[in-house]
């Protein structure tokens, strides 16, 4: 699958409290969660984000709370991919489980600036900065993770295995 979009760029330790503040966790509505995504770190994000756009961040993206509402809000806001130097472990797991593509690629993070247009072939992990023309290769997922993503998330993956 290929994705392409404009980049929103953030720094280190973007925590799940700024991705989706707890004051909005009294709902499970994806659209409502998306309407407050990144609000405490970037109040213009919701206004400016378009379907397909990409978030690029530095170290430890998604640290803090285990709230699955964080990757849900990002995905529902239209973001097609998050690229970071590293992810916090619960956020990483949650993203796979709900089908939000995420890639670790420090070289790409270094090169990409806010507003650049970036494309990525998720099956190969090849990231292209269309603005600078440079390309990068992220480590692809191990096969068992790829299988969960291919099945459409963890619940569908389990359903498939239960039927076996």
């Amino acid at each position: 699958m290929k994705v392409q979009g404009r980049v929103f760029k953030y720094g280190n330790d973007v925590d799940t409290d700024v991705i989706i503040p707890a004051r909005y966790l009294n709902t499970t509505s994806e659209a409502e969660l998306a309407s407050h995504c990144m609000e405490d770190i970037d109040k213009d994000f919701v206004k400016n984000v378009q379907k397909g756009d990409i978030i690029v961040a530095a170290d430890n993206f998604g640290c803090g709370s285990s709230r699955e509402h964080a990757p849900i809000a990002i995905k529902a806001s239209g973001i097609s991919l998050v690229i970071a130097n590293s992810f916090a472990r619960i956020f990483y797991r949650n993203s796979i489980n709900i089908g939000l593509p995420i890639l670790e690629c420090p070289e790409a993070v270094k090169d990409i600036s806010a507003g650049d247009t970036v494309s990525c072939d998720l099956s190969t992990g090849i990231i292209v900065n269309e603005t600078t023309g440079k390309s990068f290769k992220a480590e692809p997922f191990p096969p068992f993770i790829q299988e969960i993503i291919d099945d459409g998330g963890l619940m569908k993956h389990i359903q498939k295995n239960l039927k076996k």
Binding site: D13, D15, D17, V18, P21, A22, R23, L25, N26, T27, T28, D40, I41, D59, N60, C63, G64, S65, S66, R67, E68, H69, P71, I72, S86, A88, R89, I90, R93, N94, N97, I98, P142, F144, G153, L154, M155, K156, I158, Q159
Partner: protein, 419 residues
């Protein structure tokens, strides 16, 4: 090659002789947990997957603690969703207002988790139960839903860092100071994906409550889990409480640790995390006279009876400073009752503090103590991220109950010695 304590518990639950770091395993769970924020998402996923029944209702715990007593209509609806699910599935470990406490204080207290267990919970502070010698880690709602459906979860076996705690901590040094010191040293991703395994002769000086506090904040260093060896203090805590049979695991002498970090507990000073990351730690020489507006003593980190005893020791015969709001939240009903019996609640009220029903409330900016623009709060909670407790310009200073209570009296960050 030997195994770490965490690896031994994972191997046993996967039915394997041994495991090594990086290996992917599927393991049987002893307990699966969610709360009023994460359970509704899990129940939604559960329904989406076409699941109709929970694999083992006795091994599921649902605790209504974050926005309870219901802070608004939406929060009330979320609790109703979980209550209806618990009734339909015959889940007995459903804790509503009246029985509930903050989940990570409640589950150990109720004997629902213990030594040798493998536990996942849809709450990042599930790592708290490592204090009992369990492998316990936070996950998201979908993982929790899968755990309810199948009774199993997949894990990537973590590598580990060994923390050797030596000597006896000085007066006013608690588990909170120890874990804040460690996070200050290694950073908020210093143990990313790894186990934090504690050992050393210093452990004998740490109460179970100190150990719960230390393991609770392992996630604040990015860790998968934190874990203490089982000793007489652990056994005494579980005696007459733990509902299953404890299994004691110990790390092998040749267990593979990526790093060994020695900490001389006798040298530690009261430690406070300044805004806006837990790793931004400072000791008294680096504090200043900045005025504070609020103090919170409570949470899954520091809302246990020993924490309230410390707060009462400091507040007895003293008054909370003018223009400071001091909010004290016992973590469970049992802690609350004990605090009433010991006269701690009277001490708090006489000092000008308020005492609330158990709730996570202000820790995550839910209710019961939200901060206004530019306000500062000294708190015994676990995170000081931007906007965590209210307005995005407000500031949180993470501290021990000694420092929090002394700060309430001083109107600025202080230790009891400074009063």
């Amino acid at each position: 090659m030997g195994m770490t304590m965490s690896q031994k518990i994972l191997a046993a639950h996967a039915g394997m002789q041994s495991v090594k770091a990086g290996q992917l395993i599927e393991a049987k769970l002893d307990m699966v947990l969610a709360n009023d924020i994460t359970a509704p998402v899990a129940i939604k996923e559960f329904g989406k997957a076409g699941a109709t029944c929970v694999a083992c209702p006795g091994r599921v715990a649902l605790v209504m603690d974050h926005f309870t007593p219901n802070k608004d209509i939406k929060a009330a609806m979320q609790c109703k969703t979980v209550r209806d699910f618990a009734d339909a599935q015959g889940i007995e470990n459903f804790f509503d207002v009246g029985q509930m406490g903050i989940e990570h204080a409640l589950l150990p207290e109720q004997g629902l988790v213990g030594a040798g267990d493998l536990v996942i919970g849809a709450d990042s502070h599930t790592c708290t139960y490592g204090a009992l010698g369990a492998f316990s880690t936070g996950v998201g709602s979908t993982d929790m839903a899968a755990g309810m459906m199948t009774g199993n979860a997949w894990f990537k076996v973590p590598a580990a860092i060994s923390f050797v705690l030596k000597n006896k901590p000085a007066k006013y040094i608690t588990g909170k100071d120890i874990i804040l010191h460690i996070i200050g040293m290694i950073g908020v991703d210093g143990a990313l994906y790894k186990s934090m395994e504690f050992s050393g002769d210093g452990i004998q000086h740490l109460s179970m409550d100190d150990r719960f506090t230390i393991c609770n904040m392992a996630i604040e260093a990015g860790a998968k889990n934190g874990i203490f060896p089982v000793d007489d203090a652990t056994r005494a805590y579980m005696q007459g409480r733990f509902k299953r049979t404890p299994v004691e695991y110990a790390a092998d002498a040749d267990a593979p640790y990526e790093k060994v970090i020695e900490i001389d507990l006798s040298k530690l000073e009261p430690t406070v995390s300044f805004p806006h990351l837990p790793e931004n730690t400072r000791t008294p020489a680096e504090w200043d006279d900045r005025k504070i507006d609020q103090v919170v003593i409570g949470s899954c980190t520091n809302g246990r009876i020993s924490d309230l005893r410390i707060a009462a020791e400091v507040l007895k015969g003293r008054k909370v400073a003018k223009r400071v709001r001091c909010i004290i939240i016992p973590a469970t009903q049992a802690v609350y009752l004990q605090a009433v019996r010991e006269g701690l609640v009277e001490t708090f009220i006489n000092a000008g503090a308020v005492v609330s029903t158990p709730t996570c409330g202000p820790c995550l900016g839910g209710h019961m103590g939200i901060l206004a623009e530019n306000e500062r709060c000294v708190s015994t909670t676990n995170r000081n991220f931007v906007g965590r407790m209210g307005h995005i310009t407000s500031e949180i200073y993470l501290a021990s109950p000694y420092v929090a209570a002394a700060s309430a009296v001083a109107g600025k960050i202080a230790t009891p010695d400074m009063l």
